[in-house]
């Protein structure tokens, strides 16, 4: 069921937009782009103070006991402001895995810290070109983890991670405290270094299975879906921002004696982009409202597809509408282009989510 937002939700959205707009600084974001391993710690503290880190946890863990829609609205505001804080979504993913599959002591130790924003989480499922490898190369034997996970978002700054590893009897989900010896974090050079993406190498490191994740691939898939929905909101926020930027520029920039928005090549391009954003927004909201329902996975995948099409497409177009200005380091459009591409890849590329849609539609047909 798609929903209309209620007053409380609209208030969260407004507040997030207000604060993040006030906090926005293209200059600062560019320092994160350039510097590996840096991110916006000041903003992260604000997230904790605002309770945004607490949205999706039960009150027992210091959470606000709200849902995907509320977190989605914050993520949308983050997307509009291209915030240098990958941890909002990466911590959420870890927290949701613990909430669903963690042992009591795992939950008790980590969830309050995650809700407060004092700890940062990450998930590490993918290997090579597989988002959910059938037989991970990373191995967990006798409670010890060995091997590598590539390109883990927030891997450079996370305090804990959930990994998909090959256990003694097949794949498992395991929690690993990243403040241990034997762990190497190799920060990667990426086109959006504010994500603090790192290869994580484990040499005989302690890790503990999540006892509730009896079907680890299914569990990992569920976490990825939850993550995908929140990232979809973030993508929608970014896409909307780029749409607005293109529209505003098309109204003010003049060529051949009129605003360039009067040329249909520009005007219709922006109208098409508006449509992409509206489709993506509708799917994100719908997916969030389906949480816990049998077809959640299907709509999460649909949301992800539309959001990726929208953010990649609209930011590509917005640069083109801006002409020369659009491709300068000075203008902030490339921040969105980089972020769009990064979000598209990190949370699983289109081909992955297309396959998810198809397998679920095939399942429904049987």
């Amino acid at each position: 069921m798609s929903v209309l937002f209620d007053e409380a939700q609209l208030q969260i959205a407004d507040e997030a937009q207000r604060l993040l707009t006030a906090h926005y600084s293209g200059e600062r974001l560019k320092t994160y782009l350039l510097g590996r391993g840096t991110f916006d710690r000041e903003l992260w503290a604000l997230f904790g103070a605002q309770g945004w880190t607490a949205i999706c946890y039960p009150e027992a863990f210091g959470g606000l006991d709200l849902g995907l829609l509320e977190l989605g609205l914050v993520a949308e505001a983050c997307g509009a402001a291209v915030t240098g804080v990958a941890a909002l979504t990466s911590s959420f993913a870890l927290g949701q895995a613990l909430l669903r599959f963690g042992a009591d002591e795992q939950q008790n130790h980590w969830l309050p810290q995650l809700a407060a924003g004092s700890a940062i989480g990450a998930i590490a499922f993918g290997e090579g070109q597989d988002m959910l490898p059938d037989a991970p190369a990373l191995r967990l034997e006798g409670g010890r983890l060995s091997g590598m996970k590539p390109a883990v978002t927030a891997g450079g700054i996370a305090d804990a991670a959930i990994v998909l590893a090959q256990g003694e009897n097949g794949p498992v989900l395991a929690l690993v405290d990243l403040a241990q010896p034997g762990i190497t974090r190799s920060l990667l050079d990426t086109f959006d270094n504010s994500r603090c993406t790192a290869d994580l190498t484990f040499v005989d490191v302690e890790a503990r299975e999540l006892p509730g994740a009896t079907d680890a691939p299914a569990g990992a898939r569920e976490i990825l879906r939850l993550l995908a929905v929140i990232v979809s909101f973030e993508q929608v926020g970014g896409a909307q921002k780029m749409l607005t930027a293109a529209r505003d520029y098309a109204l003010t920039r003049r060529a051949f004696g009129q605003p360039i928005g009067a040329f249909q090549s520009v005007k219709h391009r922006i109208a098409e982009d508006y449509v992409l954003v509206e489709l993506a927004r509708a799917n994100a909201i719908h997916a969030a409202s389906c949480a816990g329902q049998p077809d959640f996975g299907l709509y999460a995948a649909a949301a992800r597809i539309s959001a990726t099409e929208a953010y990649d497409g609209v930011s590509r177009d917005a640069v083109q509408v801006h002409g020369g200005i659009g491709v300068t380091w000075e203008a902030d459009l490339h921040l969105h282009q980089r972020r769009a591409r990064t979000l598209s890849v990190e949370a699983g590329p289109l081909i992955f989510w297309e396959d998810e849609v198809i397998s679920q539609l095939q399942g429904a047909a049987q």
């Binding site: 922006i270 509206e278 509708a282 799917n283 909201i285 297309e354």
Partner: protein, 402 residues
């Protein structure tokens, strides 16, 4: 259970009880005349069951409920392929607009006859030289200074179901000496009147429900005028937005996603089901995502409507996206069938058959608002981008170069 849920359940129960008599399967193999007769019977049944004119006032033969109930009913009804197409324009625009402008009595008789399927109204707007640019129309209406009567001369085009219609609403040029959208006047006409000639226009896929309608000295009294002299463009715009929001099919009346999945699962290439091919997966998955979004937009629009907000761009988005999507997917589904993909059963419907869906899709991208006009609408009304350069703006109609 909310009232609306109760309403939906009752409506669904009634609709489902009618499937055997009026549904898609019941219509197969009927002649056009038989199918129209079935449609008239369905409308009567619907009227008698209290599902006609759901959001119209009771004095006009309606049920006095809100647009929400109407949409709720329509969304259930649309699923079964009932023979409603002959009446949808009639009840969607011409009858409601004449109800707004005509005096009581006669208009209620017409409304009830239309609701019962006994009478059909058509809408005579487009012309050969006036499609997207409606205000460029050339059909003349000249007033007889003695009687006040109007004499109509000209040609209308793309008039759906004109050949079945009893009445029509028409816009004509009453003053060519002023700017084009200010010289138009709006009337209703008797489609059986002397001087009215109707010729079917066959479309590319062979269907013939649209017409050319010629007016040769058709004389009508001034009482058949709707709105002021020179105010026809405004009444026409009012007509077009009466159906602010109607039930929609995210598949744009083409084959469903489930059908695509089933076909691609059944068909094999080099021993592998086509659904295993990434190209097939991409097309179907992305099409599904877009259809899911259109459905979500529709549901949110309904909730907005219930909450008292007027819908905005939903209709334009739906039409723009859904038809193009249908066109692309249908084209692709023809391809992957291999050499037999060229087969076409002329009797198949666009809902049943990829080839029919593909052949008829271009009409969908033009009729009722071409893609380019929808993009202009979105760009101008929603995004505030500048209107196109229009050299004819403010120029008297008879001074615009042809």
């Amino acid at each position: 259970m909310t009232d609306l849920t109760a309403y939906r359940n009752a409506a669904r129960a009634w609709i489902e009880s009618r499937i055997a008599e009026f549904g898609r399967d019941a219509r197969r193999g009927l002649s056009p005349a038989e199918d129209l007769a079935l449609g008239r019977r369905y409308l009567r049944a619907k009227y008698e069951a209290g599902y006609s004119g759901i959001s119209w006032p009771k004095e006009n033969g309606g049920q006095g409920l809100s647009p929400t109930e109407k949409l709720t009913f329509d969304r259930e009804e649309i699923l079964h392929g009932f023979p409603t197409e002959y009446f949808s324009i009639s009840l969607g625009m011409p009858v409601p607009i004449m109800l707004r402008y005509l005096p009581d009595g006669w208009k209620q008789e017409r409304a009830i006859a239309a609701l019962r399927g006994d009478e059909i109204w058509c809408q005579l707007f487009s012309e050969p030289a006036a499609g997207s640019d409606l205000a460029a129309l050339r059909t003349r209406a000249i007033q007889d200074p003695d009687t006040g009567d109007w004499v109509l001369n000209g040609q209308k085009l793309w008039t759906s179901w004109a050949h079945l219609a009893d009445y029509g609403v028409i816009v004509a040029r009453s003053d060519p000496g002023v700017a084009k959208h200010r010289g138009l006047t709006y009337f209703w006409v008797d489609m059986k009147a002397p001087g009215v000639t109707i010729r079917p226009v066959t479309l590319a896929a062979g269907d013939a429900h649209v017409n050319e309608v010629y007016f040769d000295d058709v004389r009508i009294p001034d009482a058949q005028r709707l709105g002021p002299v020179g105010g026809g463009f405004g009444v026409a715009m009012e007509t077009l937005i009466i159906e602010r929001y109607s039930a929609t099919d995210p598949a744009a009346n083409g084959p469903s996603i489930a059908r695509a999945i089933a076909d691609a699962t059944r068909m094999k290439r080099s021993g592998r089901a086509l659904i295993e091919d990434g190209r097939v997966r991409e097309r179907i998955a992305r099409n599904f995502a877009t259809q899911a979004a259109l459905a979500a937009i529709h549901r949110r629009a309904l909730l907005s409507l219930e909450a008292g907000t007027q819908p905005g761009s939903e209709g334009a988005i739906h039409k723009l996206v859904s038809v193009r999507n249908r066109q692309r997917l249908s084209e692709f589904m023809i391809d992957i069938q291999g050499v037999s993909g060229v087969q076409w059963n002329e009797q198949a419907t666009r809902k049943d058959d990829w080839a029919t869906s593909w052949l008829t899709a271009p009409t969908g991208r033009i009729a009722g608002g071409a893609d380019e006009m929808l993009l202009n609408t979105i760009a101008e009304r929603i995004l505030g981008l500048p209107q196109d350069h229009r050299p004819d703006k403010g120029v008297p109609f008879n001074e615009i170069p042809g």
